[in-house]
Amino acid sequence: MKQAPFIQIDLSSRVPAYEQIASEIRASLVAGDLPPGSSLPTVRQLATDLNVHHNTVAQAYRILAAEGWLDLRRGRGVRVLSRSNPARAAGNDQRNFDLQLRRLLAKAVAEGVSPTAIARQLAVHARHVKAWASARGD
């Protein structure tokens, strides 16, 4: 049986749980694990599975809905949208992304992750992003 897409969060992390949930779901969306039209679990179900408050999951869903990933219309559940291409990132956003990536890479190296492994994972994620972008004709 195929493994269903799933997310992992760490409640001991300093990153708020809703941000972790939003980031994990976003990663699955970009990787193509959740194609447009597919349904996500209800707020109640995901909150129960993660043992977090309903509002935490609801906030994560709202963030993704504001980014154009999800449709949260009442009575229809949570649906993945065919997201239109976002406007090109502003200069500040691009610099912020570079900064975050550099920090993350430095932390990984400091924690002993081998540069080969880092390069391999970056290549995997880059492939996912390219596939996602080409599927939308970007």
Binding site: P5, D10, L11, S28, D49, H53
Partner: protein, 381 residues
């Protein structure tokens, strides 16, 4: 039930088949309970030990084996005592004494469990703060599933229609309750409450079980969302829901049988067959539960193997301090209404949630309805 028992000194009880037949209804559950408790440490998740979250490797240590050994000795002693009391009670024709045997065993094994839990407490390990959640909704049952669930209710409605069509065949007064010896000890009259009351009881019972079956499939926590453990857990939930549906059919058939007996007063109730069927049903249930293990722990190799994760044990993702006596879960910060049991197999209510109290109220109401109907329609003479 004891009024028709032949007088026989206890010394010749071993040669008396009637006495054995009377002891069996008490001995069988006592033996089943003893077997179940013997296997109790083997059927929990590997990182839950006597309702305490521990490192999965703990159960292979000398201390853990010692706790299990002591627990099993106590279970054997209390079960043996319970059996002896039940045996003496039947031989002495004292109907309450065998029940005291059952109470002795129940109290004894509970005490043994609490002692084992107390001895495990010093080895408790903080559970992992990492959580997993699957990103697909729980599947809704298909048409076949809906038909399966409707079956018990269709049986009861069919029985009601049959009784309405054969109303004139129902005697003015008919037995509705029998002792273990097959002798009636409760009667009812040909009235709407008397005839349809038991079917209504069956309907309420099945509706209650149906609600729990739905709850298990849709309101419970998926502890592991990845790996073979996740698949085993999904199978476990389906098995649990399936057992409840089987229980609905069991009750529906019993109440259907009672209905048929009303319109065929010449037929004797087959108490022996009923008891044998009940025992076989419970025995099969025990075997299934032991083979699946809590949360599907025994269903996959991954579940049986030690799951060592650097962040600590996963357990059932509920904090130890929210478990009262390892049996009752009270956590108002946990959104789950139904959580995995730590004592036995299956799911229990989170008493920290208002919805759990609502469910408990429904259970009590479904128990009260039969009592009211029995008071209205059943007479001892």
């Amino acid at each position: 039930m004891f009024a028709h028992m032949p007088t026989a000194p206890a010394a010749v009880i071993t040669g008396n088949p009637v006495l054995w037949a009377l002891i069996a209804p008490f001995a069988a559950p006592l033996v089943l309970i003893a077997v179940f408790f013997h296997f109790l440490p083997e059927i929990t998740r590997r990182d839950i030990f006597f309702a305490v979250t521990v490192d999965p490797a703990f159960r292979n240590t000398r201390d853990a084996r010692s706790i299990i050994r002591r627990f099993r000795v106590e279970v054997r002693i209390h079960s043996g005592m319970g059996l002896a009391i039940a045996f003496v009670g039947v031989a002495a024709r004292q109907p309450l004494v065998p029940l005291a045997g059952v109470a002795w065993q129940t109290g004894g094994v509970l005490h043994a469990f609490l002692r084992a839990r107390k001895h495990t407490m010093p080895y408790a390990s903080p559970p992992s703060a990492r959580r997993e959640g699957t990103l697909i909704p729980r599947p809704a049952g298909g048409v076949a599933h809906a038909f399966l669930q409707a079956g018990p209710f269709a049986i009861l409605v069919g029985s009601a229609l049959y009784l309405a069509a054969n109303w004139q065949r129902i005697p003015e007064r008919f037995p509705v309750h029998w002792g273990l010896d097959g002798q009636p000890n409760g009667w009812s009259t040909r009235s709407v409450a008397g005839v349809y009351g038991p079917l209504l009881i069956g309907f309420c019972l099945c509706a209650m079980i149906e609600l729990f079956s739905y709850g298990i499939l849709h309101w419970t926590r998926q502890v592991r969302a990845s790996g073979p453990g996740a698949l085993a857990e999904t199978r476990f939930r389906r098995v649990q829901a399936g057992i409840l549906v089987a229980l609905e059919y069991f009750f529906a058939l019993i109440f259907n049988g009672l209905g048929v007996l009303r319109s065929h007063p010449e037929q004797e109730p087959r108490i022996g067959l009923f008891l044998l069927g009940t025992f076989v049903f419970i025995f099969v249930l025990f075997v299934i539960l032991i083979r699946t293990g809590q949360g599907g722990a025994n269903l996959s190799k991954a579940g049986r193997d030690l799951e060592l994760v650097p962040e600590g044990p996963i357990g059932d993702r509920t904090p130890d301090q929210c478990w009262r006596a390892g049996m009752f879960y009270v956590n108002r910060n946990d959104p789950a209404v139904l959580v995995e049991k730590r004592f036995g197999i299956g799911y229990t209510l989170n008493f920290g949630r208002p919805a759990a109290w609502l469910l408990l109220g429904l259970i009590l109401a479904s128990a009260a309805i039969p009592l009211v109907i029995a008071l209205v329609s059943v007479h001892a003479r």
